[in-house]
């Protein structure tokens, strides 16, 4: 049986998951990145999280910045607890020892200090300064090896901070158990922060880049969704009963309702009734069948007003806890943050009816659109595993025309049900139409119907009168 190594939790949201369960106790890591990448905040956050858990932390610096200046900037962050300074988190400078007596004196001092402080975590800020003081590569290797073996001997985990990237074949890199890279990059006009675990001995860390952000709460890492949910948390249940769509006339077209745990894409141009249909669906939320609106376009108040105009009382559902609305303004969003935020909101309340309005909000947040298929695969698989029946909207670019710019075929194939809504010009009038194009494992009525928006929201009426080209929005009587 595999031997599981004891872990030191970092307390940094998302980081323990990326590291495969946390830092390995008694192991040593390099945390590297250019100035401003977030090394100091990350390491201090780990320090204070561990201090709050009753551990002792020794924070050793070799840098010119004074500790008071460091405390000043840390003072703007929620995790910083001044009352723990000198009690459970001690900051000491060993610059003079390094300058006057050399690396071996620093090792000796650290050995005594780790023991004296009974430290579970040592943060050594200034690895490159130590390297500059070394005469040979062997000196650097010896220094790193001695510090880590002294620390490991008493079960103390070590973080060496380095302000530039240490190359893969550098002596430090070869000696430590793990390397955590922090990047701060421009993507177009925006800045994106990403973390990568480049080396991780004895630990199944999640490879590749993971987005993170720094706020007053400190660092929060959003593990790449397609790796974090590479395997859904549970099996889905394709035999589960149908979920009423709450759209009059629709269930008859799709075999009795939406399959439980299915994902339905409503696509169509602006004004075709996608959100209205989605709000109908959400009006079926109950306390034992909670609903969630995860939207990008309209604020919760606007959504409620829109629902009111359709004679749907979502306000009461929100009030009694049956429905929650999460609004994500279409600004500089992070794709994985959105994915985790959605799944967290679903799990928190055991959501069963979900409206995503619209899926394009995720597409806009993607720095690299090439991973959207994998992202949506992970997201929809997990929603199915959680037994969530999902309706998602997708805006078609053109109001009318023969070209339908639906999501790519790979994304469409991840979705269980496809329903198109359009405005159709018939004579000198516009009518709204609905076409069911796909229902998972089920027969459906392949006839274009007319939909009407009125009291009780949207309802499906009779089949549209015989027209050619109705699905393009421009029909003509045969």
């Amino acid at each position: 049986m595999a031997n599981h190594l004891p872990r030191l939790q970092t307390g940094v949201p998302g980081l323990d998951q990326v590291l495969g369960g946390g830092l390995i106790e008694g192991a040593s890591y390099i945390v590297q990145g250019s100035p401003g990448a977030g090394k100091t905040i990350l390491s201090n956050q780990i320090a204070f999280a561990n201090a709050a858990g009753g551990r002792k932390v020794l924070y050793v610096t070799l840098l010119a910045e004074t500790h008071d200046r460091l405390f000043q900037s840390l003072g703007t962050l929620d995790f910083f607890d001044r009352s723990q300074l000198g009690i459970s988190v001690s900051y000491v400078s060993v610059f003079q020892t390094l300058r006057d007596e050399g690396l071996s004196a620093v090792v000796d001092l650290l050995r005594k200090e780790i023991k004296r402080q009974d430290a579970s975590l040592l943060v050594f800020d200034g690895l490159l300064n130590a390297r500059d003081r070394a005469d040979t590569i062997l000196d650097v290797k010896t220094f790193v090896a001695e510090v880590q073996s002294q620390a490991a001997f008493v079960g103390c985990t070590v973080l060496f901070l380095a302000s530039t990237r240490v190359s893969d074949d550098s002596p430090e890199h070869t000696m430590v158990d793990g390397v955590i890279d922090l990047h701060d990059e421009l993507a177009g006009v925006r800045t994106v922060r990403r973390l990568q675990v480049r080396k991780s001995r004895g630990s199944g860390a999640m490879g590749g880049y993971h987005q993170f952000e720094i706020s007053s709460s400190g660092v929060e890492i959003f593990p790449r969704l397609e790796i974090a949910y590479a395997k859904p948390s549970d099996d889905d249940n394709p035999e589960a009963p149908r979920v009423p769509s709450r759209v009059a006339g629709l269930d008859e077209l799709i075999g009795g309702g939406l399959p439980t745990g299915s994902v339905t894409l409503l696509f169509g141009p602006s004004g075709a009734g996608k959100t209205s249909l989605g709000l109908n669906f959400l009006s079926g939320a109950r306390r034992d069948e909670p609903g969630l609106l995860f939207g990008f376009y309209e604020t919760p108040r606007r959504v409620e007003a829109k629902a009111r105009a359709l004679d749907l009382d979502l306000h009461s559902l929100v009030d009694d806890g049956s429905l929650e609305m999460v609004w994500n303004p279409m600004v500089e969003n992070l794709l994985d943050k959105l994915g985790h935020r959605l799944l967290q909101a679903v799990k928190q309340r055991g959501v069963k009816r979900l409206l995503i309005d619209g899926l394009g909000g995720f597409e806009r947040a993607a720095i690299s659109s090439s991973r959207l298929v994998e992202f949506f695969a992970a997201l929809t698989n997990e929603l199915r595993a959680l037994g969530v029946t999902t309706v998602a909207t997708w805006e078609l670019r053109d109001l009318f025309g023969p070209t339908v710019t639906a999501p790519g075929s790979e994304i469409s194939s991840l979705l269980d049900n496809l329903i198109m809504l359009r405005q159709v010009e018939v004579g000198s009038k516009y009518k709204r139409s609905i076409s069911v194009l796909k229902v998972r494992d089920s027969a459906f009525e392949p006839v274009i119907h007319e939909v009407v928006i009125g009291n009780n929201g949207l309802s499906v009426r009779l089949p549209l009168e015989p027209l050619s080209g109705a699905s393009t929005g421009v029909g003509s009587r045969d």
Binding site: S93, V94, F95, Q96, T97, L109
Partner: protein, 121 residues
């Protein structure tokens, strides 16, 4: 003017402090941790000690306790300068003759030193 021992691990602060006190006419010896500072105090018997709190091997509080426990050193005035542990220092009035919170102004420290040296004489 007097001989003052500084116990401060941060070299920038130690340097600035030493220059400041020397400019004021004092003679200064400095150590970068509590153990080295205690050795200096035992050897030199300074008129006053200015110490930081968080230092390797021995904190400012431990240095003060060691000095107060030594009959020959117990009357030497000690000033604690600290960014975050001022309250700990103030809770131990028998250990420290004055407590200054970092960042403090030069004249505050010099006035505090003058007061203590006058009192001692």
């Amino acid at each position: 003017m007097a001989l003052i021992v500084i116990a401060e691990d941060e070299f920038l602060i130690q340097d600035v402090l030493a220059m400041m006190l020397e400019d004021a006419g004092h003679e200064v010896e400095a150590a970068s941790h509590g153990v080295a500072a205690l050795d200096l105090v035992k050897k030199l018997r300074p008129a006053l000690v200015v110490t930081d709190f968080m230092m390797p091997l021995m904190t400012g509080l431990e240095l003060a306790r060691a000095m107060r426990a030594n009959a020959e050193l117990r009357t030497i005035p000690i000033i604690l300068t600290s960014g975050a542990q001022g309250s700990i220092g103030r809770a131990e009035p028998e250990m420290f003759d004055a407590v200054l919170d970092k960042p403090y102004r030069e004249e505050e420290l010099l006035a505090s030193i003058d007061n203590l040296l006058r009192g001692a004489s």
